[in-house]
């Protein structure tokens, strides 16, 4: 049996994880498996340590992001939250996404960094609400609702990441 991502970092599989512990355990695994420590090791030991470091990196990126963490946690219960064949989202949610995207585009064209920062703040606060709702849904084992929230959170994470990229580009 293979370890799940939570086990790998010694965490209980739950949505509200201890992010500090996640970070610390990730750093420890990366440092224990650093190539410098395996200079004189056998080929098979080198391979194992490299695979562990790669897995830890993938697991860390997944658990760090609330949307991906929700999706992974649902997967442990056999629920596929993110299916490429299912692109139906609530209309009002998509409308809001479109409006944000258009606002980002306008602000980028106007090189208006403070507008982008305001937008980022608005979206962060919406994401926070969604995240606290998701936390409750997991606690109450409302997995269908948790699936909806998780799907939404992934969009929120994406739009935020894109805005940060635009800001960095404008600041260059």
């Amino acid at each position: 049996m293979s370890l799940n991502y939570f086990d790998l970092f010694g965490l209980i599989p739950t949505f509200d994880i201890d992010l500090t512990a996640l970070e610390a355990n990730f750093r420890k695994i990366q440092s224990d498996n650093h190539p410098d420590r395996f200079v004189t090791a056998t080929a098979s030991e080198k391979l194992t340590s490299m695979q562990t470091a790669t897995l830890a990196n993938e697991a860390y990126q997944t658990l760090k992001s609330p949307g991906l963490r929700g999706s992974y946690l649902l997967g442990l219960s056999g629920i596929i939250a993110v299916d490429e064949k299912n692109n139906q989202m609530p209309a009002d949610f998509l409308m809001q996404q479109m409006e944000w995207r258009e606002a980002v585009e306008d602000a980028e064209n106007a090189r208006n960094i403070s507008a982008l920062e305001n937008l980022l703040e608005t979206i962060a606060s919406e994401a926070k609400q969604l995240q606290s709702g998701l936390s409750n849904q997991f606690k109450q084992n409302k997995l269908a609702d948790a699936t909806d929230s998780t799907r939404k959170l992934i969009f929120m994470d994406k739009v935020r990441a894109d805005i940060i990229k635009v800001i960095e580009k404008l600041e260059d």
Binding site: E84, N87, M89, M98, R101, I154, F155, K158
Partner: protein
Amino acid sequence: MAYSDKVLDHYENPRNVGSLDKNDPNVGTGMVGAPACGDVMKLMIKVDDNGIIEDAKFKTYGCGSAIASSSLVTEWLKGRTIEQAYAIKNSEIAEELALPPVKIHCSVLAEDAIKAAVSDIKAKQQAAKEAA
């Protein structure tokens, strides 16, 4: 990842970007979003009295393949009936654009957007009929 020439062409010169009047009774709107990548796509079609699509516009926020898929379908949709539009398969889009397997989901998104837009116009027409 290398994009095909056709994807690049649509990505660099997207056709029919924009919006139509969503309150027009002859305009159908399809909005879809892919949680797998966070892409969002809006497709609007304007249908004449014979059920033929006379105009199509799109707005897509996503990767090059998603933009190319939606740009391509706006070209395909004009002149087709809504039934023909509904029958468009993602595999035709993927084949035309030579999408690699990891980008097939972008063509699925475009197919879903067409179906959503057609369903919207049908619902509008039905509502208009009932109101008459």
